[in-house]
Amino acid sequence: MKRNAIVLMVSLSLILFSQVLFAAGQADQAQKGDAGEVTEIVYWQYFYETKSKLMDKLIEMFEAEHPDIRVVQQTFPYEQYNTKVASSVPSGTGPNVINLYYGWLPTYIDSGYLQPLPTSQFPNEKIEQEFFPLVRAAKFDGSYYALPTAVRSLALFWNKDLFKEAGLDPERPPRTVEELVDFAEMLTITDKNGNYLQTGLTLELRAQMHHWVREVLIRQMGGTPYSDDNRSVTYDSQAGYDAFTFFTDLHLKNKVGMPNFMTDDVTAFKSGAMAMTIDGSFRLGTLDGVQGLNYGVTELPSMNGISSSFASFWANGITSFTTGKELEASLKFLEFLTSDEVMSMWLDAIGELPAKQALALTDEFRNNPKYGPFIRSLEYAHATKFIDESVQRKVWIDAYDQVVLNNASIRDAVNEAAATEQKMLDSYYNSK
């Protein structure tokens, strides 16, 4: 009996307690509204430890320059970032300045979530002259809606110790795709049942390899993934079939790896069970922290004399409900984030490459053993004009499974991927 009374009391007091906290929260918000002269703006990005720490530092610098502005950084888990952003849209609230993946921009621009950057402060000609051409992916109907601090591209990472063990020169990575396959075969170790003990190359379509197939292999086979206006899929062609034959053969014929080996390629490469992987410049930070991992980075191997890579970026835009003083402050902050000074700091701290050509293409950076390959490949890299990256990635994963699990022909699998993707593109462009 007594115990029940206690339980009941505790319950009720807890409920009351929570009410008090709730009220406190409200009061807290009310106070903020009163704060007079200082304009407060909110900045959102996904959480990456070094990024959010650097941003804290940058905000400090910015606030020192602009004492009348206060910037609040809020970060969210990477995997749920897009969900979080989308959920805040219907209530008409959210940040003033927001960091978005360039592949998501069409959705948010279409919905009116972002406002075009005023040409008075960010003239198109200046942007196009200074930034890498891939930044044009943020231009819609003649206006820029977002600008990046940094861009990223793909390169080949190789494990020098495993090269040595396989009798290869640890300082001589593959330069052509033919060499890549040869090396990968030498670097693969299987047991007597044919199980992989160590794989030569990543096949992780879910991570970066769908970019490799789409923007690198198809082009190297003499094709293009999309038409010039990006509205039509063009990889249901001989080049597309050749590229995908080559890719699936890596597992079926050359036997140098498989998707999901050791759950994912970063895990496999980190633990020294995968000799070569293809990944972005942002991975440098992760890999440098792994003890006993001795690796090198080089440009993606060429084929038929063609070099290609995939480039992408996260860009900062301003939400459309930002007006008046907040808009002024947000524009100043965006200007700051795209300044030469911040770009240089970004490269040092995070390993992402400056978005302005003049800054990135200096000899110092081009010849840097770690960043160099990424920066050099920016000159020939392509940025896919994504409409819905999740769908556009999944068609390649499904095509792979169709070939490997269902013994579908390459032609059928690629055609099916192309048809699914085209349907999605059509429904987007036709609704415009």
């Binding site: 009996m1 339980v7 505790v10 709730f22 749920q80 959920s87 805040s88 992760t286 006993g292």
Partner: protein, 273 residues
């Protein structure tokens, strides 16, 4: 008595132990991984070769960790208290009274279990935003204050409470709330304890809604905070395992606290069911 020593009495615990250890294996692996670092993470030994506390130190050194832990604890306890009170009250009402609309209310409350939470998140967020509940404990808690699951559970268990016992109380002139809290409740303690455990676990592990309704990192609950270790196409698995191991501790504590009630059972004396 002779019946005390049958072979089954020896066999039973042995089989239960073997099965239990098998059940324990993935859990043990999780704990083991939390003590590994670097390449050891991917070695398959269940006993770490170079055991290290570095992962734990890493998590504890995160200045926001105490907030996350405390937030989860507050939310979990407060919601559980509310659920225990309201769900048993409604379960009691639906089981022990007859009144118009009883059936439809029961079905409607049941039906709240049939909609995936993911679909409710957006209207909740719009609501929270208008009422300034974003970044408050109340905002995280309000959707869970009562549950169809708990109401149903309590209703089922109150049905085993004999009617004559309540009638006896009524003749003594006790009011209905007294009958509920002093006579019926003690008889369903095992169910109430089970509900306490489930409710706490459910809220302790809740992810989607706390993520949507919190913007400040200090308002995050533990699962939201720990998901920071999942990065771009890659996770810091040793940190995920460490976080999960830490997150298990309070739940286990709550479990131990309430499970005794389940074991004790009910000493129903002299009443026919």
């Amino acid at each position: 008595m002779k019946t005390n020593y049958k072979p089954i009495d020896v066999l039973r615990p042995v089989i239960l132990i073997i099965l239990g250890l098998l059940m324990l294996f993935p859990f043990a692996w999780m704990i083991a991984t939390s003590f590994k670092q670097g390449r050891d993470v991917f070695s398959l030994s269940i006993i770490p070769e170079n055991p290290t506390f570095a992962n734990y130190l890493n998590i504890f050194s995160n200045s926001n960790f105490p907030f996350w832990f405390l937030n989860s604890l507050i939310v979990g306890l407060a919601v559980t208290a509310s659920v225990l009170f309201f769900d048993s009250l409604v379960g009691f009402t639906l089981s022990k009274y007859s009144f118009r609309g009883k059936k439809i209310i029961f079905i409607l409350i049941l039906s709240t279990m049939m909609i995936p939470t993911e679909m409710l998140v957006i209207p909740w967020y719009i609501m929270s935003n208008e009422l300034h509940w974003v970044d408050t404990y109340w905002g995280v808690m309000f959707p869970g204050l009562m549950s169809g699951f708990g109401t149903f559970l309590m209703r089922q268990f109150f049905q085993t409470v004999p009617e004559d016992l309540l009638d006896a109380g009524r003749i003594d002139g006790l009011n209905e709330f007294y009958l509920f809290s002093r006579i019926a409740i003690p008889l369903v303690k095992p169910a109430l304890s089970a509900l306490a455990i489930f409710s706490f676990i459910g809220n302790w592990n809740a992810f989607m809604w706390p993520l949507i309704v919190s913007n400040k990192v200090t308002m995050y609950t533990l699962p939201v905070g720990l998901s920071f270790f999942n990065g771009e196409f890659q996770s810091q698995w040793e940190m995920v395992m460490t976080g999960a191991s830490i997150a298990t501790i309070p739940v286990f504590f709550i479990f131990i606290l309430f499970q005794r009630q389940i074991i004790q059972g009910i000493a129903l004396t002299g009443v026919k069911g």
